[in-house]
């Protein structure tokens, strides 16, 4: 079957779908203890639309490798070594000021084919007015981003927009600008 068309998630994605801990990538279930195999970090920021206006009720999903750079998925040849207590996925939504936050472990880098991936987190942004999922990737200032093949696809003047900024111990800030001025680079997969 051909893929179904994407549509906007709309303004009314149920808040009752969100549960405590959904924005904590370290937990495989709502009740599970968070994985401790890595450095716990917070990723936070705002989602803005044109003219710097905050986006309310945007849905964000984060996806990343574990602290050793492995995915518990067949796409990873070392899936059997992945941290069994780490989910690597989380969902958050923005508040009235457009703010979101995730708690996770600092992802590891890894070798894929003959290339080295720098530590990164893939972010999907959904919301009213976004007919398609906006997909971007967050990198870290301490990573070897220059060697990362996806980072290298981004025009050099824009690469800095994909690097989260240190914001206190274990905290990184990553603002997402959907449209205008310092617009975040987005990918077509």
């Amino acid at each position: 079957m051909l893929p179904s068309s994407e549509h906007t998630i709309g303004p009314f994605f149920p808040q009752t779908f969100f549960r405590e801990g959904d924005n904590d990538l370290r937990r495989i279930t709502a009740d599970a203890a968070p994985s401790t195999r890595g450095e716990t970090i917070t990723i936070h920021g705002v989602v803005l639309k044109a003219d710097g206006v905050a986006c309310v009720n945007m849905v964000l999903e984060a996806w990343q490798a574990d602290a050793a750079g492995r995915f518990n998925h067949e796409a990873d040849p070392e899936a059997h070594l992945a941290d069994p207590d780490f989910l690597g996925w989380g969902r958050a939504w923005t508040d009235a000021e457009g703010r979101y936050a995730f708690t996770t472990l600092l992802p590891g880098g890894y070798v894929e084919g003959n290339q080295t991936r720098a530590p990164h987190i893939n972010l999907s942004i959904m919301g009213a007015g976004l007919m398609r999922i906006a997909r971007t990737t967050l990198f870290f200032p301490q990573g070897d981003n220059a060697a990362d093949p996806i980072f290298a696809l981004v025009p050099a003047p824009l690469q800095g927009r994909l690097v989260a900024q240190p914001d206190g111990p274990g905290r990184y800030r990553f603002d997402i600008i959907l449209h205008g001025g310092a617009e975040t680079p987005f990918f077509q997969d």
Binding site: E6, T8, G129, L130, M131
Partner: protein, 233 residues
């Protein structure tokens, strides 16, 4: 597992921004999207996500024994399929919708239409080994979009599907066959290919499989990815 992710075929993805729908101008990125290959991150997705997103809530119409939502009782079922037409097992399927009066039970839906105390309007299930899913619910009402050049959203049901790869993540909507508002809906009509639009419209089916109480619709959902699931025995 997924071996291949082809680019989106022409005409399936909505054309944006959409005239008369101001939010698509303020939210849609203005720079061209950067094409990237499917790396391991995009090919992978969380394992056992149904432990995190609890599934099994498939009846929106009956909130408790004897408490039945107002409206036309319907059953929506179908399969989640990959691009080879094979069922996608263990996909998380989320559904949400307005009530029969066209109002969502959501704090930011402040429209002056009645709330139904017996209708919350969302559910989440896991597809079975053949990729099948099903929900008992009611036919939602139409509602107006509060923009200067207003239009009415046809009755529709929102779907969010989390499949075996990040690339198969899909958010879409289902429409009802024969509704005159379908042809006027700026969101549905933003999909250029008529065949792709038609795939977003459910088909009516004889209600034999769900009994006499429910008007039945069938709605199959296509996810990106070829050879994305094991062969069925």
């Amino acid at each position: 597992m997924a071996e291949r992710f082809d680019p989106w075929p022409e005409g399936i993805q909505p054309h944006v921004p959409i005239a008369g729908y101001p939010n698509t101008f303020s939210h849609t990125p203005s720079a061209p999207l950067i094409h990237r290959p499917a790396t391991r991150t995009e090919r992978a997705a969380p394992a056992r996500l149904s432990q995190k997103l609890l599934c099994g809530d498939d009846n929106l119409a009956v909130i408790a024994p004897g408490r039945i939502a107002q409206g036309q009782l319907i059953h929506i079922s179908g399969r989640v399929l990959d691009e080879d037409g094979r069922g996608v097992p263990h996909a998380v399927v989320e559904l949400w919708q307005a009530n029969a009066g066209g109002r969502y039970r959501h704090p930011i839906d402040t429209r002056d239409a009645p709330l139904d105390p017996d209708f919350i309007g969302n559910g989440r299930v896991l597809t079975d080994a053949a990729g099948r899913y099903g929900f008992f619910t009611i036919r939602p009402g139409a509602y107006p979009v509060p923009v200067p050049q207003t239009w009415w959203r046809p009755p529709h049901v929102h779907f969010s599907v989390l499949g075996p790869a990040s690339l198969s993540r899909l958010v879409t909507q289902m429409y009802f066959p024969g509704d005159p508002l379908n042809a006027l809906d700026r969101i549905l009509q933003s999909v250029p290919d008529p065949a792709a639009r038609a795939r977003l419209v459910a088909a009516m089916v004889p209600p034999v499989e769900v009994g006499l109480g429910w008007l039945a619709y069938r709605f199959d959902i296509g996810l990106r990815g070829r050879a994305a699931t094991p062969e069925l025995l």
